[in-house]
Amino acid sequence: MFWNLPLIAVVVLTIIALAIIVFKKNLIKVFLGIVILESAVNLFLISLGYREGGIAPIYTNAPSTAMVLPTPQALTLTSIVIGVATSALLLSFAIIIWKKYGTIDIDRIRRLKE
């Protein structure tokens, strides 16, 4: 049970991130929540590939016995770059909204309804 620590951390971090997204009114705060959510998912992927006593999947002079699984690392690399692209686009939206509306409070960004 104790060994599942990273996976438990994934659950806790996901819930914290969703709480930030749902309870915080400020757009930038919400985006920070999304960043944390992304990191939690990345941590999930990486911990799927961990193998007890494994070394990094790189052949060097280090003694090669067992290696951790490489595929999740490749997936996570992709996911990290997608994450930074996402946050850049989101933040530029926030800046434009600040310019046009004068606020980044979610309660007041409500011109589209019904």
Binding site: A9, K24, I28, I36
Partner: protein
């Protein structure tokens, strides 16, 4: 055994810094906490034997994401819900 302790400490730090992001009303402080979070998750990747991912998280997460968040805070507002 002792690597387990390191592991547990890093994860405790992760959860603590995530909670700090939740707590701070000063967005700059929240962005700093998120930078700290990025660093800790990079350390966690390092411990989980993923140096490739650790490098990219360190470069992108701790370096550039913090920078663009700070630029965005500068372009918008610093305090959640107006000046305290």
């Amino acid at each position: 055994m002792i690597d387990l302790v390191i592991h547990a400490l890093v994860i405790a730090g992760l959860v603590a810094s995530a909670l700090m992001v939740f707590h701070f009303r000063d967005l700059l402080a929240a962005a700093l906490a998120a930078g700290f979070f990025s660093f800790l998750i990079s350390l966690e990747f390092y411990i989980l034997q993923a140096p490739d991912v650790a490098i990219s998280q360190a470069a992108i997460g701790a370096g550039l994401t913090t920078a663009i968040f700070i630029i965005a805070i500068r372009a918008t507002t610093r305090y959640e819900g107006g000046q305290p």
